[in-house]
């Protein structure tokens, strides 16, 4: 629903601006050119995406999600004190966050949903708990170590070194996750007082 409204808004904005600038003749060619450029983008992305997905599948089958998950357990006891008392919840949480780190989005979502469901079963009610909100922040602020889709887009656009944005992406991710978690802790405390 919301995307339909956003799309209509974009078209209306374009038509309005074209009338203002007397540029209405440019709209139709631009529409067709935009549609064509999406296909060009898809074709130039296809190879790299196929390769990353293949490598992701190898990581998944080699059990690397579990390996990374084990390393994160100590940190999780602080972030999710209640859920980490429960073996199932802790397992889902670590699997979700490690799959996100490795960029295995398709594996991360089911584990994240399972984690929220388990936390919900432990807490009861229809309200999000503090720990659920923290998990949401860790999922909405991207913590992917290798932003492969963006690198593929950069490669398709002719970047000399598609991955040279890595240090900047890491630093940015650390800042955004920390800000989100700090905000979550602050909101959680405000509510309790």
């Amino acid at each position: 629903m919301i995307m339909g409204a956003i799309w209509l808004g974009m078209i209306l904005l374009a038509v309005g601006a074209a009338f203002l600038s007397g540029n209405t003749g440019a709209l139709t060619p631009a529409a067709l050119e935009g549609a064509g450029s999406a296909v060009t983008l898809c074709i130039s992305l296809a190879g790299a995406l196929c390769l990353w997905s293949g490598l992701s599948k190898v990581m998944e089958r080699a059990g690397m999600i579990k390996g990374v998950g084990k390393m994160m357990r100590p940190a999780f006891r602080r972030l999710f004190p209640r859920a980490s008392g429960d073996e199932i919840a802790l397992g889902c949480l670590t699997a979700n966050v490690s799959a996100n780190l490795l960029g295995l989005g398709s594996a991360a979502t089911p584990m994240g949903v399972a984690a929220v469901k388990r936390m919900h079963a432990l807490a009861g009610g229809t309200e999000a708990t503090d720990e659920m909100c923290r998990l949401i922040v860790m999922n909405t602020a991207s913590i992917q170590l290798l932003p492969t889709t963006v690198a593929a887009v950069r490669a398709a656009a002719g970047a000399a070194s598609p991955f040279d944005i890595l240090p900047a992406v890491w630093l940015t991710s650390v800042c955004s996750v920390s800000a989100g978690l700090l905000a979550a802790f602050a909101f959680g405390r405000m509510r309790r007082d």
Partner: protein, 168 residues
């Protein structure tokens, strides 16, 4: 520094998987097929959204918007050209990708605008989609402060991306 990252990653992943007696080749091709299916599933959305983005640019709307918002964005240190990307990012991953790819083509992939767009895309997520999937599946009705906390993280990401694009 990043020159050997991908080759090393390929070797590392393959060695670990072989040590665990996995069929590496089958996993590579199975995963590849999934990747192509994923691409096929977002292709129609990219077509629809890039149509709108190109119309916005041709009409002069993007230039107008950029000029109006320039004082605010220069105060925050964010390139005004990336504002459409920031507005779309929490709602739709493919829309943000379409806008980002267009910015990289128009302004140059290694330009400050192109790099800022890439860093923004790489360090943020489709916030509203994620929240609705996670809470929807578990039957959570009251999301409390999840949305504001997640949006604070996104905003921090956008501001930091504009900064790290300049210094790193």
């Amino acid at each position: 520094m990043t020159d050997l990252l991908i080759p090393a990653l390929m070797i590392g992943i393959a060695v670990i998987a072989l040590a665990k007696k996995q069929d590496v080749y089958a996993a590579l091709t199975d995963g590849g097929l999934e990747g192509l299916k994923l691409l096929l599933s977002i292709a129609p959305a990219l077509v629809i959204l890039l149509t709108a983005v190109h119309m916005l640019r041709a009409s002069g709307a993007i230039d107008l918007l950029t000029r109006w918002l320039a004082p605010l964005s220069s105060f925050l240190g964010i390139p005004a050209e990336t504002l459409p990307l920031m507005l779309l990012r929490p709602f739709s991953g493919s829309a943000a990708l379409a806008v980002g790819a267009e910015l990289m083509t128009v302004h140059g992939v290694d330009s400050l605008i192109g790099r800022t767009a890439a860093i923004m895309l790489g360090s943020t997520e489709t916030t509203f989609y994620t929240i609705s999937v996670y809470f929807g599946a578990a039957g959570i009705k009251k999301t409390r402060y999840a949305v504001p906390a997640a949006l604070i993280a996104d905003l921090t990401g956008f501001l930091t991306a504009s900064l790290t694009a300049k210094i790193l």
